[in-house]
Amino acid sequence: MIRYLIRRLLAAVLLLLIVSMATFAIFFLVPRLAGATPEGLASRYMGKSANSSELHATAQRLGFYDPIYVQYGRFVKGIVAGEDYNLGPTTEHCPAPCFGYSFITQNPVWPELTDRIGVTFSLAVGGAAIWLLAGLSTGVLSALRKGSVFDRAAMGVALAGVSLPIFFTGLVALVIFSYTLHWTAPGGSYTPFTQNPAEWAYDLILPWLVIAFINAAGYARLTRAGMLETMGEDHIRTARAKGLAEGRVVIRHGLRSALTPILTIFGLDVGLLLGGAILTETTFSLPGVGQYAVLAVTNNDLPKVLGVTLVGSFFIIFANLVVDLLYAVIDPRVRLA
């Protein structure tokens, strides 16, 4: 088990390295290959009237004249050992892990990212809890009452949830619940949990519900299908033959089996969400990692892009690992070695 974990962690580090190299290449090497000069690259990070000597200075400052592997090495070194940054009158030391300074705002990337993880984490955890609960219970009930009015209605709503994009659902929900009924907070509201838990929940309830609506749909359908399958299995008959109450049969014996494939998808979904709920955060203007990713990419802000890619990849890899570990807990037939 320990050896398995160590091996998985080493693989994760390797994967992160590869991801960072690929990202580096896409945002740095590709424009170079397409003919961009160091000054041309630098001009993206300057005002509209920069002259050639200023462009040259910026290109120098950002290290664009160095070979690509030197630039990459500097990036990795910053993560491991930190780096110094010229603020003008003074120099600042950015301690490890230093993901560099934004090319645009010149703020250090790492504190900005960690600051935003809280938002994304709150959004993901709350949303995931709601959608898991709603999706599972709807799916279970639908499966038990297969063909009933409830089943048909639930599956219809689920289909709508899956098909409607979040920027549509989200905007409509904002207009209805925040701006017309004034029940929920307007877009862009966020209060840290540590500051005021009630405010935190109030600000996030609408994004949670919308994200849950969209995802619960898939989980309901998945749960329904899984339950229909497991409830027909022999061991369910055995459980009933033992004289167990139906509720216990459904939850402990049926749902438990149906949960395995759902857990896999849930883990991946939460991992993706932690890596940046891009559409949700953009729709609700939430200052999370996903919004950061959008800003980073649209501004060609390489240090931010690298930072957010690594954080996102980390969460996805981490969620995968957790899912694999949970798998072994849920299904004793799976042995980790």
Partner: protein
């Protein structure tokens, strides 16, 4: 012996409480499906006493398993139509509430299933599943239940039960799993044990061990046992009475010895003829059942067996139009052929080839 059979006779009155431990009267289990009404069991009656073993034999789809599940109350609601009476120790189960039946299930009546790997939950330990079965009906601590579970595992012949109790089903061998399954069924000392194809999924060598175990436990617990199988070899070893089912109905019903030695229904002949025997050459054995089991939605009119019966229509017997009744005293047969004719055919044509 014959008394057992007369109670299942024709003069049953719906209100009279039978003296038999288990008595099934005119049981009908029909399922509504999109394709039509499936008459899985259609007017079945039989009785079993404590300490006795009854075998139910038939091809798949003949209604054996449906019958057993109906007794346990596992075919209720939804698209199922259930009628008739099931009397267990003086209590009628079809009219009883779900909750009452649930309380009896696993306690007074228990069941052993065919494929122990599929029939046990893969995510829980064997012990946990036995403990769960025990604690549903007994308010005891987990510790007590666990001790009981270990005892039961020991009694069904699992070595080192205290250690194996925490193993998962997939860590057991096939035979061990079935023993564990039996331990789980017997954990509450059931007075009625239904074993549905208990050995089908097992190796031949293990089959015998399991059958021995069931026999031993039955004599120890004094339960009534129903063994459901398509394998006449199994019932030959265990059964006191034998019920041959075809298309949801009794084809032949009597003392096991009688049915084995003097079978009268052509379907039973077929079943006997299909039994593998090492002492005969395959080519000598001419009796086999041709065709496939009938659709339970469109059951053939008259005798349901007639399309596959080589004697059907003989001497103007109305096999295709009239449903044969189950007639006879101790040994009852549902066949239009007159009894002497059946005896003669068996003696002359069938027995030599078995």
């Amino acid at each position: 012996m014959s008394g057992t059979l007369t109670t299942a006779g024709e003069s049953l009155s719906p209100t009279r409480v039978p003296s038999s431990f288990l008595e099934v009267r005119d049981l009908r289990v029909h399922f509504k499906t999109d394709d039509g009404l499936v008459k899985a069991v259609d007017g079945l009656s039989f009785a079993v006493e404590r300490g006795r073993t009854m075998g139910i034999v038939g091809e798949s789809g003949s209604g054996k398993s449906v019958t057993s599940l109906s007794i346990l109350g596992l075919h209720r609601g939804g698209n199922t139509r259930l009628s008739g009476e099931i009397w267990l120790d003086g209590e009628e189960l079809i009219s009883a509430s779900r909750e009452e039946v649930r309380r009896l299930r696993g306690q007074k009546m228990a069941m052993i299933f065919q494929d122990p790997l599929a029939a046990m939950h893969p995510f829980y330990t064997v012990g946990a599943q036995i403990i769960e079965a025990y604690r549903v009906h007994n308010h005891v601590s987990k510790r007590v239940a666990r001790k009981h579970a270990i005892d039961m595992l020991g009694r069904v012949g699992i070595p080192q039960p205290a250690r194996r109790v925490d193993d998962y089903p997939h860590q057991f061998s096939g035979g061990m799993r079935q023993r564990a399954m039996i331990a789980m069924a017997l954990v509450n000392n059931p007075q009625l044990l239904i074993a549905d194809e208990p050995t089908t999924a097992l190796d031949v060598t293990v089959q015998a061990q399991i059958l021995d175990l069931i026999r031993d436990l039955q004599s120890e617990f004094g339960s009534a046992v129903i063994i459901i199988t398509h394998d006449l070899g199994v019932v030959a070893e265990l059964a006191d009475e034998l019920l041959v089912m075809y298309a949801g109905k009794s084809a032949e019903y009597g003392q096991a010895e009688q049915v084995f030695n003097r079978p009268e229904h052509p379907y039973t002949w077929g079943l006997l003829g299909s039994m593998p025997r090492l002492d005969r050459d395959v080519r000598e054995r001419l009796i086999s059942i041709e065709g496939t089991p009938p659709s339970l939605i469109n059951v053939p009119p008259g005798c349901a067996f007639h399309p596959r019966c080589r004697y059907a229509g003989r001497d103007g017997i109305p096999c295709r139009t009239v449903v044969p009744e189950l007639l006879g005293e101790a040994h009852r047969v549902a066949c239009h052929l007159p009894s002497p004719v059946r005896t003669r055919i068996f003696g002359e044509d069938i027995a030599p080839h078995l």
